[in-house]
Symmetry: C3
Subunit: 343 residues, 3 copies
């Protein structure tokens, strides 16, 4: 019986994913974004502020750090561009391309794009003591936003949909803009996520609307020789319409498609790993160990949704072709692995 099966699965938290604007979404059925977009009502504070082109109250503040122009766009995205799983040396069967969302960086005033939209979106960088300015424009079909982790931000810079309490930054409608100001305090040092937190999240996140940001401490010693930002996440049927779930690193699945990282013996190499998913992961890097801030030696690290883990190999000492991967077996074998090549 259909009901019973779903009910049964509901018991495991998997059946009905969420209700958006009266639409019940389930993980295995692609969400109809245009139907969603039509039925999501504009919150009162957002409606009241719609006179201004840029609804941000940030206008009067002085940005002291980097300034970004970011647009959310639709794009075609291939999860497995080379159609091959290099770890298992076999072909990846089935369709792997879907209609994605991505954040795309532009030059000042959205004059011209700096490269294509990507999953994850552009890296945002800021130093402690500075304020990061992000001019955001929504060019996808549903209201979306940018919500940061780790940094300090005022209530109206939250980028989160909050029902009738939503302010304009938490509900940027198609065709509109909002300027976010996010402050890098001393207790913000590290690598963090940003992602959509609008009314259609997390479907939009599973379509690609997330990225990394880093808060650097100018008092730190010289930057590392190599620095890698890795996001562990999945691209799910609800968002891709594909038959299969892919376990991804930076929007790609399977070694040779996921980032191939490079370093040389003697180099100082930093890894910034974040996760954004409905699942938990453990990050493992072959041939290497590191210490966490408590001095504990680790080579495999548990991570939950939206967590960050940063570690630095002070002096790379182990040449080889190494695997880095999630140590959850189904995730590893559904694509969550890549190469780290040291020479």
């Amino acid at each position: 019986m259909e009901y019973d099966r779903r009910h049964f699965l509901a018991g495991t938290g998997a059946a009905f994913f969420c209700t958006i604007a009266g639409h019940r979404l389930s993980l295995d059925q692609p969400a109809d974004m245009s139907a969603l977009a039509q039925d999501i009502k504009v919150p009162p504070e957002v409606a009241a502020a719609q006179g201004a082109t840029d609804a941000s109250s940030a206008a009067g503040k002085r940005a002291t750090g980097a300034e970004y122009w970011i647009r959310a766009e639709t794009m075609s995205w291939d999860i497995v561009p080379n159609g091959h799983d290099a770890m298992m040396n076999q072909r990846v069967r089935g369709k792997t391309k879907f209609s994605a969302y991505g954040y795309r960086q532009y030059t000042a005033n959205f004059a011209s794009p700096i490269g294509p939209a990507t999953i994850p979106g552009p890296l945002l960088e800021v130093n402690v003591g500075e304020t990061l300015t992000v001019h955001f424009e929504n060019d996808v079909d549903v209201p979306v936003t940018m919500h940061p982790h780790g940094v300090f931000y005022a209530n109206e810079m939250d980028g989160a949909y909050k029902g009738k309490f939503t302010t304009p930054g938490g509900f940027v409608q198609p065709g509109r803009r909002f300027t976010y100001l996010w402050e890098a305090h001393p207790d913000s040092v590290g690598a963090w996520l940003y992602h959509d937190h609008g009314p259609a999240d997390p479907v939009t996140i599973f379509k690609g609307l997330f990225g990394s940001l880093i808060v650097r401490d100018p008092a730190d010693p010289a930057p590392p020789d190599a620095e890698y930002f890795l996001t562990l996440h999945s691209l799910q049927p609800i968002a891709t319409g594909l038959r299969q779930q892919f376990e991804c690193i930076n929007g790609r699945a399977y070694a040779g498609n996921t980032p191939t990282l490079h370093a040389q013996v003697g180099q100082r190499v930093a890894f910034h790993v974040v996760t954004l998913d409905n699942d938990f992961h453990t990050f493992h890097l072959h041939g290497h160990r590191w210490t966490d801030p408590s001095g504990e030696i680790i080579d495999t690290k548990v991570m939950g949704p939206a967590e960050s883990h940063t570690f630095t190999i002070e002096s790379e000492d182990n040449p080889g072709r190494w695997l880095y991967h999630c140590h959850v077996f189904t995730h590893l074998h559904m694509g969550m692995a890549g190469w780290y090549i040291v020479k």
Copy 2:
């Protein structure tokens, strides 16, 4: 084929939840508590001790700390009292009320109740160096207990069912009492769970039999201006008989039903988060960051079943209406979110 589907799910750990007294329980079928109660046999040591009204060997010990009278009771509990999800500004459909179990606090000698039974149960407080005394009475249909985390306790104060090795504190039958003595050693400082660990656990836990306890260090500086205890847990069809699983904070699901927390700028605010579930969670608080004991800056924290996480915002500096929530998307959208309002 029915069998195959269940077998399949068994492979994921979800099909047969446990076998109690010969009854195979599955997560999607409400457990028949009265049938269970009839078929659970009294362990030999418990039967031998049944002469005394209060079977506890604690009689001869001197309690030096707080003394509590707690009764496990049945009650009707509404998971979503206002029927509304304030985060998404939408109605929560379907039945949300069920026949629950809860711990309820009484004045000395169970003279009169101090408020109703609740999920979670009453907060238990004790200082380092003291012994907490909990007089427990079981007024539900199955044998239940109180099992604490974090504190020191002797074998017979464990409150855990252990088959034929069970002592009276691990099997308090309907209508009977037991007095638990739990000691707060210096290595017990912090916030912890207590919960039923009798022969029908975890069904009883999913019906509401858990609470928080805190061990305070008198050498600590002044208490915080505001202090919040949050339990992340689910209420599941096996225990509620409802069609839907609810992802809860303190017995309620969806913002506006879960605790709405308050603080003022300048205040010192402590959060004590515990989890008790079949699932893993990550706790995220918008607009705030904190450090763990190793000095690591975090804004999202992975937590597994029965873990504790305590953090203090030394001086609240960010006014606004903030969301706190589990960052697992299905959990967030099945109710695990609330408001933190700073003025």
Copy 3:
């Protein structure tokens, strides 16, 4: 519709486990190991090196630490030898014996076995500054390996299958040998896993091919009076062919079958807990608390696949019959519990 149901489940990461040599494996269907073995192609570098009996490039290096002779073998393994769950005092129904794989230790040059093959395999021990030598022989039907965590090893000592980049240590065919050299650097101190990482992993791991290794620091104070190595893992239908998934500690499920640990009051007791699974666990020990390296007091610890957690009870102070268990309820009730008896 059959497809849809599986598709649905695929959305939860549970349906198709992996594709090995063109065979799609799912968690609920036993894998046909002999069919797999036939279809896995020998990687080019491995084929080229097949002239030598022992393909290891370790021949010229001098081992300074312990030397082990380990063979992977098939065996019959009973997950619940006494057929009883002592925690619930009830019979465990259904078949519990299966055709397993195990690592087995031999005397020098594989002259004679030291005990039977076991799950987990033999404990490997090494001191900081030494090199561990492991002579490995494969006596099962598919290519398997030994891959270590925590220690330092050169690229060709990785023991990992890497498609066409695989070196001989990552693909030890039935009947062949390989000698691994693993180095214990100061940043390797602790307890770690080793496990198969060949082309048929993780099916082989779910059949039993894993074990613990410990790197000791000779500068440390006297060894503990008692020391226990516990692996939390599951034995799944895909590997066992049994109808039920078992949640195990050291190859056994249910208290009385899992390790019963012993200690005396006043003793120093070390616990080395590792996990190797598709799931996450929390390790809880009744009546005891400990501190992690950051000084945080814990009594329940979240652990993900392939993580390690070591803690020491400096002076055992609590006599009794204690449960240690995973605090995920389904895992606890599917067997992941044991006794710790202090006198």
